[in-house]
Each structure stands twice: as structure tokens, then as C-alpha cells.
Subunit: 254 residues, 2 copies
């Protein structure tokens, strides 16, 4: 099987770190990439600081197939992402003719002045290609394996749709959840034995509070459906034998 593409997310902006904004972009991108069979391996949140942004994007782009950034591409002084990407890639930055045309037409349509600040959003690192923004037009861009998007969720989401056709997809990871009505402590040892038996299936245990008491979701993930089903059957057999032994209050595949 060919290796699945990998990815990292880099959220840029003081507002997430200060607590002012509760990030919703990471969860959206995680779901989006999962549906494309791309493995999200890591995420980072950094402030609007040039050195931090450059260091993070260089670390991530060297390691993963793709990097997706959000935030910092507006017209104000705190929007420094485009300059940081140019510096990270060691290229220049200038007004991109196509971006200028898109923005000029939009501002005219909206009756807004195409001032210096607004046209700052057309400054794109040399060699980058634009990502269409159907919401507010100011484009994102792709440079190398890095996709640079807006931070406003609705715009970022539209940009993901726009750039998705460029992505190499992997086989989608299949997932099955067993809702297990019992303590993690009783299931841990036999579950570990199932994990040891099925090394190509990733098994996670996520405790939660059920109305009947402590419970845990046993989540099995694999690209191979047949193998996954074998592992699920092994977990179900384990859960059932623990139920018979009075160690849980029931279980079900959800």
C-alpha cells in the first residue's frame, strides 16, 4: 500500500492564545483531511510573531506532505503571514497581478476605495499560486506544499473547497466505535492484548460520563476494512466476555 499523504495545521494569531477566540478551524480541517484520506499528524498555534511563524512553517513543511495555515492575511498591520511565508521560503513578495485584478474589481463592485491597505491583500510571495475566496475575494495562496488561508471560519472553509482538488488523496481511514458501559480500568488489559494482536489497527479508549456511570468509547481505526472488522469482532468478543463476568453494564457498536 502506498503511504498516505500527511499534513500539519498551523493556526496563526494572538487571539486564540489570549483566549479571546475559541478556535474552530482545527476541528474543521481535521474532519476535512480525514475525509480525503490525508493523515493530520500535528497542529501548532503561534502568535503574530514573524520569527515564530517562520520557524513553525519551516519545521512543518519539511516534515509533512502538506501544511495548512489559517490567519493573518487581512489588510491590517497585524496581518504578517504573507511576508512570513516569503521569508520562510526565501523568496520575494510583490503585488500579484491576478490578485490585484480580483480585488480591484471587487472593491469597485462594492463601492470601496482600492486603497493601499486593501491592496496589501494582493501581496503574494513570488512563485505562489492563488486560492480562490468566493466569500470576500481576497485570495489565499499556495507556496510549495503550504496552503495559506484566512482565519475567518467561513472564508477558510470556502478556501478548503477551492484548494481540495490540488491535494493528493489517500485511502480513507475507516473507524468503528464501541460504546462500552464500564470502567476503562477493567477493559485496559484485554484491550491492550487486542491492540498487540492487530498492530495495523489503531485502538483508542476515550472515557466519558454516561448516564449509567463511567463509560468509555473504544475507537478502532484502519484503512483496511477487512482487518478492521476482524479487530472490531475481537473487541466485541472481549466486551461480551467482560459483560458475562459482570465487569460492564453492556456495550454496543455505534
Amino acid at each position: 500500500m502506498t503511504q498516505a499523504p500527511t499534513a500539519a495545521v498551523l493556526l496563526i494569531g494572538n487571539e486564540v492564545l489570549s483566549g479571546r477566540t475559541k478556535d474552530k478551524n482545527l476541528g474543521f480541517i481535521a474532519d476535512y483531511l480525514a475525509a480525503l484520506g490525508i493523515d493530520l499528524m500535528e497542529a501548532r498555534v503561534v502568535a503574530d510573531d514573524e520569527a515564530d511563524i517562520v520557524a513553525a512553517v519551516n519545521a512543518l513543511r519539511a516534515r509533512y506532505t502538506y501544511v495548512f495555515t489559517t490567519g493573518g492575511i487581512g489588510p491590517t498591520h497585524d496581518d504578517i503571514t504573507a511576508d512570513c511565508m516569503a521569508r520562510a521560503f526565501g523568496v520575494g513578495i510583490s503585488h500579484h497581478p491576478e490578485a490585484v485584478a480580483i480585488l480591484t474589481a471587487y472593491f469597485k463592485e462594492m463601492g470601496r476605495e482600492a486603497n493601499e491597505a486593501r491592496l496589501r491583500m494582493a501581496r503574494i510571495p513570488d512563485g505562489a499560486t492563488l486560492i480562490n475566496n468566493p466569500v470576500s475575494r481576497a485570495p489565499g495562496f499556495r507556496i510549495g506544499n503550504v496552503f495559506v488561508m484566512a482565519g475567518v471560519p467561513r472564508i477558510m472553509q470556502a478556501m478548503m473547497d477551492a484548494l481540495a482538488p490540488q491535494l493528493v488523496r489517500g485511502e480513507v481511514v475507516q473507524s468503528v466505535t464501541i460504546e462500552y458501559l464500564g470502567g476503562e480500568g477493567d477493559v485496559a488489559k484485554p484491550l491492550g492484548a487486542v491492540q498487540d494482536q492487530f498492530t495495523d489497527v489503531t485502538i483508542g479508549s476515550y472515557p466519558f460520563e454516561h448516564t449509567t456511570g463511567f463509560a468509555t468509547n473504544l475507537v478502532l481505526r484502519a484503512r483496511d476494512r477487512v482487518l478492521l472488522e476482524e479487530a472490531v469482532k475481537a473487541v466485541e468478543a472481549m466486551a461480551e466476555s467482560l459483560r458475562v463476568a459482570g465487569k460492564n453494564r453492556g456495550w454496543r457498536r455505534v
Copy 2:
């Protein structure tokens, strides 16, 4: 003025990266640290992978006053955080007598077997001190400048309360928001001028869709209240002159 303490958050777990779980811990910790005057500088999300966890915690603990981790301290095979912390600090790991006592008493009270898996939660890196868990008893721990907490939000939140008295606090950053009913493009240049004038105030611009059209929140942040108020007054004067010039639909301090 003494330098404020700094911090990083490290979220550990496949479930956030797979999209299965939408993280709520980062926002909570960000708010919590802001209220203590501790500057959250960076956050990372890594998978349940030993090398990745060790590398991340070592990078972060070298750079910031404190590191707060969540996730991976339960009894199942995918809970590897304690071992990773021992490896990151180059120390051994063993059953901590106090943790064993806490857990044994709890399991007895709950009528649960104090089995090997459950007592795995008492394995604590050598030299670490415990963080009390009033919800489900299995403790977190502090090693060096790293605080290791559970991933379940309610437990993590209780652990933050338990560990907070150990933290050196900073002066709290004060924040004022001006809701500006107009496009970012018109405010960008004069706002940048205010930022240049007040280099010790951090000014951010966060666009959003208001019922009346495009709008932006202008957020000013500083530790010095007097300086902050001067900068706010400068932004208000700027907003008012733009309003008089017909460049916005109004503004207000919120």
C-alpha cells in the same frame, strides 16, 4: 517591570487530530492563564506517539516558564504520556506510593478491583509531584516546569484549580475591544499608525460579519492601564474621524 511568566500548551492525543474530538481544553487553559497574568505563547497538538511527544515537550519546556499538557494519563495501552515525560526528563518511572494509596482507597470505595491496569495510573516519573484530581482521583503530576493533566475537560479543569497555587503569576493583561462597523481596509492604515505610536500596546483587528455588513473588532491589549486607555482614546478618535468622513457606520467600546 518584571517579565511576565510564559507558557505553552501541549495537547496529546490522536482523537483531536483525527477530527473525532473537537478540543475544548486549549480555550479553557488560555482563559485560565490570561486571568493569572501568564502569557500563553504557543500550543501544539501531537498524536499518541512517543518520539513526537518527547520532542514537543522538550522543545517547549526549554523555551517557556511553564508547559501544560493534557491527555494520555489513563489506564489503557494508548496512555503513554507519563512514560514520555520520564523519557523527556531522562528519569525513571515507578509506582508513586501516594498515588497508589489514593487510587487503592478510591477503588475500594467504588467496589472496583485495584488491578494492574488501574494501578498503571499511579506510575509517575521519578521526582515528580502529584496534582490532585477531585473528580476521578487518578492524579496528574508536575515534573520540572511541566504540568501533566488529564484530557477529559472536567478533570483537566479541576486539575488546573489544584495546581494554580504553584504558579508564579504576572500582572494581568488588560483588554479593550472597539466594535467598529466598517471594513478593515479603511481602518488599516490609521490603525497601523496608532500601533506605531503605542508600541507597548498590542492592537489586533478581527473582522466579523455584523447584521449591518462587514465589521471588525479592534482589540487593544496591555498590562499598563493608563497606557492602554491612551491608546484606546487614540483608536476612538480615529474611528470617530472615519465616521464623520462617512467611512464607517459607527463604532462603540464594548
